[in-house]
Symmetry: C2
Subunit: 302 residues, 2 copies
């Protein structure tokens, strides 16, 4: 293996240590960061994610509250709860854990949130501010990808970044972020997806290749340009009888092949995953500081 690891676990730990100091400072200023987590129904994966987010808050001294609603909650009740959290001055960040049951209009529920508390960065206003070059809250996974690249000294300015996958929470905001006119970004960006013809011909041009497809093994070593930085956002369960759980987690990239060709590569797990939670914490601290009227040191804030 020739590639250096883009170690998300270690980087996320560093960021958490830095955030602890900020949380302490805010708490001394009577503005302890507070993240409200909204959970509708009993989706088992959601329970795991929510526990992880709550635990991450606790470790940093961030207050978190869980607002649980039954799967059959009606729209008005959920909307009222979101509005109440918008108005609650003690709450700085509001996160609606997705997916929500299909009788609820997901888009409308997200629109009901105050974009000033949108620490997930999923509100269309957050997406639009990013696309307009004046980001508010950037979605946690794209923010985590860029932070991981920066902290490992991967050059971005003037490079060609190819993103495979156009989801509104990863691929699209990442395309808008990487192409921002800033000295530490400023990449030429190609957004590929299920409709792309000759994908390998495009990925082989990538100085930075980001896979966010959700399909194990979609990116082989032959699709990677020598010397590239490969970021694997995929997190797929592959059956594995040798594991107790019966499966193992794997990304979208064939790691062993890509690691021979690339100069940098993220492991899965331990790459982008931990960064996403760290960025949620970072956005929550930023939200608290902004709402307290404090100056926010934030690289991605215009």
């Amino acid at each position: 293996m020739g590639a250096k690891l883009l170690d998300g676990k270690k980087t996320a730990e560093d960021i958490r240590e830095e955030l602890k100091d900020k949380v302490r400072e805010l708490t001394l200023n009577d503005c302890r960061p507070h993240l409200a987590l909204i959970n509708v129904g009993d989706d088992p994966a959601s329970q795991v994610y929510l526990r992880a987010k709550g635990a991450a808050c606790e470790k940093l001294g961030i207050e978190s509250t869980l607002h649980k609603f039954p799967a059959n909650v009606d729209r008005a009740r959920l909307e009222d709860a979101i509005i109440a959290l918008n108005e609650d001055k003690k709450v700085h960040g509001v996160l609606l854990q997705l997916p929500i049951p299909s009788h609820l209009p997901e888009d409308q529920m997200i629109l009901a949130m105050d974009a000033k508390k949108d620490v997930d960065g999923f509100h269309p206003l957050s997406a639009g501010l990013l696309a307009s070059g004046t980001p508010g809250f950037v979605a946690c996974t794209p923010l985590g990808v860029v932070t991981l690249l920066h902290r490992h000294g991967v050059p971005i300015n003037g490079k060609h970044a190819v993103i495979v996958g156009r989801s509104r929470i990863v691929g699209r905001p990442l395309a808008n972020l990487l192409s921002m006119k800033r000295r530490d970004l400023n990449a030429t960006v190609t957004l590929c997806h299920s409709g792309t013809s000759n994908l390998p011909g495009i990925t082989r041009q990538a100085d930075i290749l980001v896979a966010a497809i959700g399909c194990a093994g979609a990116i082989t070593g032959a699709m990677v340009k020598p010397g590239a930085a490969v970021v694997d956002v995929g997190m797929n369960r592959v059956p594995d009888p040798s594991k107790k759980s019966g499966y193992r987690l794997t990304g979208d990239v064939v790691f062993d092949e890509a690691a021979e060709v690339a100069s940098w590569i993220t492991p899965v797990p331990g790459g982008v995953g931990p960064m996403t939670v760290a960025m949620l914490m970072s956005n929550t601290v930023k939200a608290a500081a902004m709402q307290a009227g404090l100056k926010v040191e934030d690289a991605y804030n215009a």
Copy 2:
């Protein structure tokens, strides 16, 4: 010249004819479309644009009102005027002619507008809804580019579109629009800009090449892939003593060279320019229909 012309003048005329019927129908339903144009100061170019927009409204039977403010208007007064137009049920579209004097915060003034009346598509919420795959109002120039391609039968799905220029009113929304997951869009999109290395190497891959740079002659014939569709958004004044005005208008593309190589090409003037005004009219009619609670036939509305 081998390329077919992407005739924006003719296409815009066709669209205006179609819109006339819709305006008549809305007017009969007691909902005559009404566009409010806001003008701050005396920028001469702005006066020309505003007159053109007012005249376009008049031809279609759309009501337009001009709201003029002196260059030294204070922020609060302008903001109050915007809010009053937001609340005025007789007004369906609100357009703030840019640029505005530098003592006024442009971003904040646009944010003050109700996104439901944002017929220019410049509000960050409009940009974000587009980036999220559920467009509200799409900015007029990108919408005009795509409409021009569609009406000339240029294939987009599965093609590689290269956009040169990342402005928030052209390049960026066009990138988000062309890459939407829809049968008549679904392009792979590369966004290039001033930071791009080896621009010709990328533009020569483009099945659809969009120049939105603002620099005469930036795209030469050698940068165009044979058989491509070339869309020139540029509108540059080049000194020309043979003209009465002392200048002529030219795009970003060296037309004669590119027309030899491409299969389709826009003239300048007469290409994208007329489409932009036609799309403003289309967005205004759509705004009126939506505010009247009528079903809107709009290809770009999710």
